[in-house]
Symmetry: C2
């Protein structure tokens, strides 16, 4: 199956539809990627576009969108509630299927270098691509925002990963990095006692010694009159829905309750689903490329870049 | 999720690459469909193209390919081992996902009428689209082949479903119809005794009162040193891999053996996989449109026909 990467760049324009439309058009007109949607927020004066496709094509489309944003957005006249340091504020790259995090880190570095070299916009690497621990978090990189960074970019602490230690006169600076796909996955318990869900959440989440990549909280869900272990699976290669389900089931048994069901909120990659099917049907030698829709998608994407 | 239909038209040309290429090009250049591949057979002097896409676009592409074949292939000078009645010999339409057989039957009738009316090629409906029981099977419709049908098409028995009771002077006649997707699905038993597999096959196949849409045989598979219940699932809406697996497991238990594993040979639609995942994870409110790859495919296909 083809390698698939998702990209959800954030731009510092959430009021002027025409500007966002022009940036989005760069992505829509890129070959080998699928434009998934856009969200504009006027208060934040910020928009988020999302698209997915094959690795090199995603990098190309992100670059084109960033270039367009640098021509259309002037940070000197930008205001909004959301912290930001540049016209293209942040470009996260997310491995969807058939591609490892390491490869996405490489792609993010390629993109960050290209933006710095060809557009003269200094770039910072964050999350899995970060070159220093203190650059992992986006909020740390955004400290002081556009206005503050302008003054401090020359310092060793704030020096960009690529490009000169000087802000682009209108587009500021941009953060680029690879981060994992996040799947929101909830397991319902056959009890109304939220304390049970909270105890189980405490035992399954990574922070407290549970499963790798799992964040978890316990809730009471009025609609279903059930306690719920609400999880974010941040690293499907380590803990997918099957492992999370089984572990919560085991912990629930210890608490003397049953698992009533589970739910996926939003999207998940077919790999997470096929893993469950492989177990349910004891499938031998099953490959995701045997799934028709995946094969059709691959063929469409590869035809697009021929 | 988008409706997906597969089409595998057969053309009476398996020697001249140029002709097959020109026909295939009509499909490749059609919007909203994905060309999946082609097979040419020189002995049969016949080729099979395959493609998939959204319903109306599949009908359009099939029509265009049929029109091109009628311009390029002359049945009067055609010879080959495989029985055939026309330049475009048969056009099967197969529901892949999000679409019922009934809708595919309607599409096949629309296509058959269009071919008859616009290309003057008489058309016959077969399989699920057949208007009479004796027209269900393709071999019955091909009786006497092109040469024989030319003489008998005027009779009540051989009268086409659409068009005049007269062969197209060069393209002959064409068979069109909807038929189910076939998934090849095998279950391995923890025994080398092929007799057990044969008994189980006898109990699960539809013909002998088993599960709807299931064809089954028992084999001994040297490679794995195991007996195997080899099934064709011809109607996934009635019997999917999960039901087949569970029934074979139940029958195996009665025979005192275990199920060692199962395998899918070739492709299957994501729906068959997600059904298994829904059970494994007790998923609530899960919709196939939550699968990323399916969503991307949908978006690509819908963009293609905008």
């Amino acid at each position: 199956m083809a390698q698939l990467v998702e990209c959800v760049p954030n731009f510092s324009e959430g009021r002027n539809h025409d500007v966002v439309e022009k940036i989005a058009r760069e992505i829509m007109e890129s070959r080998g990627v699928v434009f998934l949607g856009s969200e504009m927020d006027a208060d934040h004066n910020r928009s988020v576009l999302s698209f997915a496709g094959t690795p090199e094509e995603v990098v190309q489309a992100a670059f084109r969108a960033c270039r367009r944003a640098s021509q259309l957005i002037d940070m000197n006249s930008h205001s909004g509630e959301h912290p930001r340091i540049g016209a293209t504020d942040v470009i996260p790259l997310i491995p969807l299927s058939g591609i490892e995090m390491d490869e996405c880190v490489k792609l993010s570095k390629e993109l960050a270098r290209k933006i710095a070299e060809e557009l003269n916009i200094p770039t910072y690497l964050y999350e899995k691509s970060a070159t220093r621990p203190e650059r992992r978090s986006l909020s740390d990189l955004r400290k002081g925002e556009y206005e503050g960074l302008k003054e401090t970019i020359h310092t060793e602490e704030r020096k960009p990963d690529y490009g000169k230690a000087e802000m682009h006169p209108t587009a500021g600076a941009t953060v680029v990095g690879a981060r994992p796909l996040l799947v929101a996955y909830n397991v319902y318990l056959s009890t109304e006692d939220v304390a049970v869900a909270k105890r189980i959440a405490g035992r399954v989440r990574e922070r407290d010694g549970g499963m790798p990549g799992v964040k978890a909280l316990g809730f009471y869900i009025e609609k279903r009159r059930m306690a719920q272990v609400s999880m974010n699976l941040t690293d499907l290669s380590k803990t997918g829905p099957v492992a999370a389900f089984d572990r919560v089931t085991e912990e629930a048994r210890r608490e003397g309750v049953n698992v009533a069901g589970s739910e996926v909120v939003g999207l998940l990659p077919v790999g997470a689903i096929s893993e469950a099917a492989v177990q349910r049907l004891k499938l031998i030698d099953f490959d995701r490329s045997q799934i028709m829709e995946g094969k059709l998608l691959d063929m469409l994407l590869s035809r697009m870049v021929e």
